[in-house]
Symmetry: C2
Subunit: 298 residues, 2 copies
Amino acid sequence: MKNILIIGCGLIGSSVLRAVHAHRVSKNIYIYEKSKKNISIIKKLKISCKVINKLKNISVNFDLVIFCTPMSQYSNFISKINKFNTNKTIVTDVGSTKELSSKKVKKQLNKNITWIPSHPIAGSEVSGAEYGDKDLFKNKWCILIKEKDIDKTHLSRLKSFWKKLGSKVIMMNSKQHDAIFSITSHLPHLIAYNLVKTATDFEKGKKYNLIKFSAGGLRDFSRIAASNEIMWRDIFFSNQKNIISAINLFIKNLKAFKKDISVKNNNQIIKKLINTKKVRKKILLLKQDINKPDFGRF
Amino acid sequence: MKNILIIGCGLIGSSVLRAVHAHRVSKNIYIYEKSKKNISIIKKLKISCKVINKLKNISVNFDLVIFCTPMSQYSNFISKINKFNTNKTIVTDVGSTKELSSKKVKKQLNKNITWIPSHPIAGSEVSGAEYGDKDLFKNKWCILIKEKDIDKTHLSRLKSFWKKLGSKVIMMNSKQHDAIFSITSHLPHLIAYNLVKTATDFEKGKKYNLIKFSAGGLRDFSRIAASNEIMWRDIFFSNQKNIISAINLFIKNLKAFKKDISVKNNNQIIKKLINTKKVRKKILLLKQDINKPDFGRF
């Protein structure tokens, strides 16, 4: 690639920047970032890249434009990038939901510009350029959204881009993506938020100081409950339908579990507890987590 | 101490053994363990201790007897230890719930023997002597249950025992203990089990292979959902009342959150997400977790 534009340089955007630089994926790197803090961190990296202050009056032919901002901000940029992009440009993103955001982007984006959404499964609870890492995408999944009308040359170029950054690339459509991640990511996050809220509600009600005993389990949940609120608000709102189904299925299971406890249904409880153990084993086998007790924390 | 008896030498029991040995807390260490695997692991440690095969016909005056088995097994040992313990003996345990298990023990245990329950907050998702660690209790909380009629000399001896193992000791009554841990530990565990179950239910229904994308959040929960099923069945059944209240409070919060998503209540969602972030900060400040993104996994 000759020219790449990264819009938004927080955790993910600055990791893309570092990885593109480390693997020499593009001759020129342009970044657009409003936060002075992020810009000052990026400047210290001494990576040769051009910081763009305004998306107006740009006369570069970009091979790739990548949105690394919260999804609710995409629409701010599209009318601007419409002006300088051509049919050679691929526009992509790193957002966590695909169906609704894609629909919105397609509506705004010039028809001759190719839009292929990406989702690297590589976030964490921290935000900001200071946490960026050139190896953030290494050996992680990156989902590319492949709809029926896709331009195969551009798809293959985007696939090759993520592979150069170290990702394992997999394709699916946006409907399938949003259903899968409503369960593996969105539900766990909202459960974590609600569990922490339940603990603070209880603490207020009983006046017990319980956070100091969070090592018994709560602390695991508090990690993902510390994730960026704007990003997660956008996810919850844009994957509303799947998430509501996931909550309903979860509440159904929780009520059945509550009944098993209240009637002391030994067989059911033991069966459920053993089955979930098998899933952990599968997760470790698939190298989706490290195989050390307690995450190797201590 | 002169003589200590550890009943059950899995993760916790074998850690007590290692720590008692490392800190020279007792002149003689006796262990009672049925699992041949655990015994063979312990023998390899070359710690001087005596393995007891039968709790009958013992003529040792124990200073401390510590139950490190699942709570449902305590009653199997009590009639036996009644025979050789005296008013100098403290009997304790490491179980995760206190009110019901204590009531049961008190009923069976000879009146002249002192029973003071302990709860070191130091478990993990793994079981078995091979995971034991002499430093497992270091800088971790250990709760001692202090009821009104407690023998203060024995309480202070038990406190000193846990301190020698590196624990920070704190006292509370069993009612308070069971309420606090229903929220900080029991609810998170059962939520984790149910979240993993929900994922497998969804996978079966939709025929999507989703476990391989568990890095988006699910994997955090799968860790504690992999904990020992007998231990957790005992916890759920013996802290039934508090746990059911905790589930009800959680479902109430979850339904409110679902409503916030379905009506796109921006202010409420942002407020909730920001508040839970503060709790994570508190947990890190209280050194209840390590302050590294992603638990420092990679």
